[in-house]
Symmetry: C2
């Protein structure tokens, strides 16, 4: 028996998430699960009819950075699905026993061979449809010497004007870039959150 334990790809799109879930459910016997409220709990969970395994699903934490060298921002072109070929910030799942900042540093190193000097938390985004909490830091690069990792096709340092806006991988990449720009020159600020404007709104992207 294989329990349903998909590890969702970072920043998966809504459609892919749906597809992924359905495919996983079919492939792994998730029909064994029923939705019910376990004893002592207060909301329904997926419980295996056979063995009682409770599939607690908790939101996952993604950590990443908007990292700059002088006035240019590091972006990586994704070598993996979802959104292969599109540009993203160095980011990924926080691992066990890792601080959020250490996770952001690790992801930048793994994806871009980049060493970060983290400044402060830039933004906290809640991506509800995939239950992700993204913690995005503002950072400087210790050096412009970079190297694409296994999950990166190529990388580059972009001025604001040269950012490939039409080829960004995820909405929250665009949010983070705009939030980074919005706090230029500020040295202590409250982290930004999801834009309150509709996604097709003021950014015009």
């Amino acid at each position: 028996m294989v329990h349903w334990a998909l590890r969702h790809s970072v920043w998966m799109t809504a459609a892919e998430e749906q597809t992924g879930k359905t495919a996983a459910a079919e492939a792994s016997g998730s029909e064994r699960f029923e939705s019910r409220i376990p004893e002592g709990d207060d909301r329904p969970r997926l419980v295996c009819r056979d063995c009682g395994f409770i599939n607690y699903e908790n939101p996952k934490v993604v950590v990443g950075s908007v990292a700059t060298w002088e006035d240019r921002i590091l972006l990586c072109r994704r070598a993996i699905e979802p959104r292969r070929g599109y540009w993203t910030l160095p980011a990924g799942y926080l691992e066990q026993k890792e601080t959020a900042a250490a996770g952001a540093e690790r992801e930048a190193w793994e994806e871009a061979g980049a060493k970060l000097i983290i400044d402060q938390l830039l933004a906290v985004y809640s991506i509800l449809h995939i239950s992700q909490i993204q913690l995005i830091f503002r950072a400087e690069l210790a050096s412009p010497d970079l190297a694409a990792g296994a999950e990166t096709l190529e990388l580059d340092l972009f001025t604001w004007q040269s950012i490939p806006w039409d080829d960004l991988a995820f909405p929250s990449v665009r949010w983070a870039l705009h939030d980074h720009r919005a706090v230029r020159g500020q040295s202590g600020f409250a982290p930004r959150g999801n834009p309150s404007e509709p996604e097709e709104g003021p950014f015009g992207l």
Copy 2:
């Protein structure tokens, strides 16, 4: 077969965490798990020898608040283990498809019948030994009318001087209270992190 899927109690202490894990492992057949690197992954995970289930463990997100009415801070005395009888902030696990702020509001409502007016993110704590990320908000209470929930023995609003410092449930409760005080009067600030001082340090608590 019951897979090892303990839901750790919020802010469990190191000792309790260890005990809990051991007991759970014994009770639920976790000897079926071996530690190995799954295909396409880059680090060891616990994999069931029998069925291939991969027990991905991700850090869990706890959301909570330092909520005030005038100059007094809401604390709740825990009705549940761990640390039953000790005082804590309203906080708990973030649920799926819930923003961090909504989660903090829900916990305050469930544990204290409190309606929050959230101001901004006060602190992000990384509790490494239990792989928790705590997002603690600064908030005001919409009203001083409160009611202890099922997980709360009693609650009260404390002035700084009357806080039961010797009976706080967890170190991060103390951190949050001190951080809340440190940013008094500031209306936009970078969230605070773990104190860099050793736990037995400057707070003298």
